[in-house]
């Protein structure tokens, strides 16, 4: 029995090509039953995400299966030749383990792919499209992903400014549920950052902008409330996270302004995220008790450090994956006779 993988991903094809081959959840069952008609194919799992479309198949005759898959894909895409990469075992096994561990992802070490693989496998199982070898392969892949993540730093840190800000807030407040966010300046980047916080349970979002209508519009979009810009100090007592991105030429959050406001909220940390250039918050406020200031440079520096750490871990991950591949190939060799 052989495991064959054929697919396209973000490296081999641009999005306009990938979208032609994408398999939506509603057509997955049909696609699975269609490819199971391919001569020599014992079972299949289709993984279709925004960055990849991959077919994992169990077969005794890989060449015939690949030909069949190429024909199917051509037919699906309207006679377009898919820029397919193909892997035969053990290379296909290694490929799946790398995909599950996030090593093949666009953002190195991202974890969403594991959930997508689990979903793809569950769908194939529900359609009765998997075989014993595919079951074993995917279950092993999930174990590999867990092992790699827990033993290395491949998922360490965050890889976007928004998620770094959320991580930092977690290291200041712990649970973000019930926290109040004040946005000064209704720009796109502050909106994205605020949305990251809301998705992690932040309770209240207050928007203040020089143009009140714009503040009101953003507040409505993210389920918050708007205040007039000059009134923000009045609601400051309840604020935990301050996101600034105004276009003011001078700092608007200074030590002189913040100092007296902080006296009304003893022992309550304040996380200031300054996304504006020129900066909205004076650097000296970071010296105030319970105030943690991060500007755009410091957030981007953390993103870069996280990526660097992840890249440095790739070799260790590959070694761990090699061991798992040997283990799985050994199992396959011992179970040649009991295929399907």
């Amino acid at each position: 029995m052989n495991i064959v993988c054929a697919g396209i991903n973000h490296r081999s094809a641009t999005v306009d090509i990938r979208e032609k081959f994408a398999v939506g959840p509603q057509e997955l069952q049909r696609a699975l039953s269609r490819i199971r008609d391919i001569d020599g194919l014992a079972g299949a799992v289709i993984v279709s995400t925004c960055n990849r479309v991959e077919y994992y198949t169990a077969s005794v005759c890989p060449i015939r299966v690949l030909d069949g898959l190429r024909g199917y894909l051509k037919e699906r895409s309207g006679e377009m030749d898919a820029p397919l990469y193909t892997h035969d075992s053990p290379s296909s096994v290694r490929h799946l383990f790398r995909v599950a561990s996030g090593l093949d992802s666009m953002v190195l070490g991202e974890t969403e792919i594991l959930g997508q693989l689990k979903q793809a496998y569950a769908s194939a199982t529900a359609c009765g499209a998997t075989t014993r070898h595919l079951n074993k392969l995917f279950q092993h892949a999930f174990r590999v992903a867990k092992h790699v993540r827990s033993e290395t730093q491949i998922t360490r840190g965050s890889t976007s400014v928004g998620s770094v800000a959320v991580d930092l807030a977690g290291k200041i407040f712990g649970d973000l549920g019930g926290r109040t966010i004040l946005i000064l300046g209704a720009g796109e980047i502050s909106e994205k950052t605020a949305r990251s916080f809301v998705s992690r349970g932040a309770k209240t979002v207050i928007v203040a902008n020089r143009t009140f209508d714009r503040a009101a519009r953003l507040a409505e979009e993210i389920g918050g409330m708007a205040v007039h810009f000059e009134n923000w100090p009045n609601i400051f007592e309840s604020v935990d996270i301050l996101i600034c991105s105004t276009s003011a030429p001078q700092p608007i959050i200074t030590r002189e302004i913040l100092g007296p406001l902080l006296k009304n909220r003893p022992d309550r940390p304040l996380f200031v995220i300054d996304l504006a250039v020129p900066r909205d918050a004076e650097a000296a406020i970071n010296d105030l008790e319970n105030v943690y200031l991060f500007d755009i440079d410091s957030l981007e520096k953390i993103v870069a450090e996280s990526l660097e750490i992840r890249r440095a871990e790739v070799q260790r991950c590959e070694k761990m994956i090699d061991q798992h591949v040997s283990e799985f190939v050994g199992w396959m060799r011992n179970h040649m006779a009991f295929h399907a």
Binding site: L168, K171, G174, P266, D267, P269, E305
Partner: protein
Amino acid sequence: MDRFLLTGATFCLLLSFCHTLLALGAGRYRPGVFNRVALFGGFVLLTLDLWQRGQAQGSCPINSLFDVLVFMSWSILLIYLLVGPAYHLSLLGAFTSPLVFLVLLFAQLGLAGPPAQGRFARDPWVEAHAALSLIAYGAFALAAVAGLMYLVQDRQLKKRQAGTLFYNLPPVTELGVANARLLWLGFGVLTVGFAAGFMSDLQVNNLKFATSVLIWIGYGLLLALRKTHRLPARRTAYASMVIFGLTLLALPTIQYLSTAK
């Protein structure tokens, strides 16, 4: 053979300490089973050692400076095992193991001598006073450790550094809360311990009494200032470390001087 259990406990803590250092050095520390098992192993061995020496001395085994340090190490581990999981402070173990290891090492290398004889009669108030006081110091020790963790995390946030410790240390707010709660726990137990001392017929020299009262007032004042928001979390963390450091120096010195007389 009589030091076998103690040596075993010290070895467990050394293992935990080395494991933490190696993992942190490799930049991949995660609080895990190894530290918990090593610290629990150390606690069990210390408990057996104390029980054995308590049987031999016919009283709570805190009759010499050596005994005091061993008992305090035991109480630090006890509080850690009770409090650590409750506050999700797994990494507290990584900071606790070096402290307890050094205290035990100092006790064994610097103070080991012939086994102490029970010096006072079996007055339950005296026993309660001594044992509770040392358990309180165990809580204060852990408050100092939580304070150190707070300061490390606070510094990393202020300096905008996201190193290995940053990702593994608990949130700075939770560390501040843990620091304050451990101080309250220690203060409460110490107060009960002092009350037990007053109920007994124990005669202590003035220097020891004055030092103990000063420590009690010091922690009481610290907690009062914290409670009324006059002392922010960062300064409370510093103060808890400073007062415990002074206590660690003062009490054994006085105990040593008293024994020398």
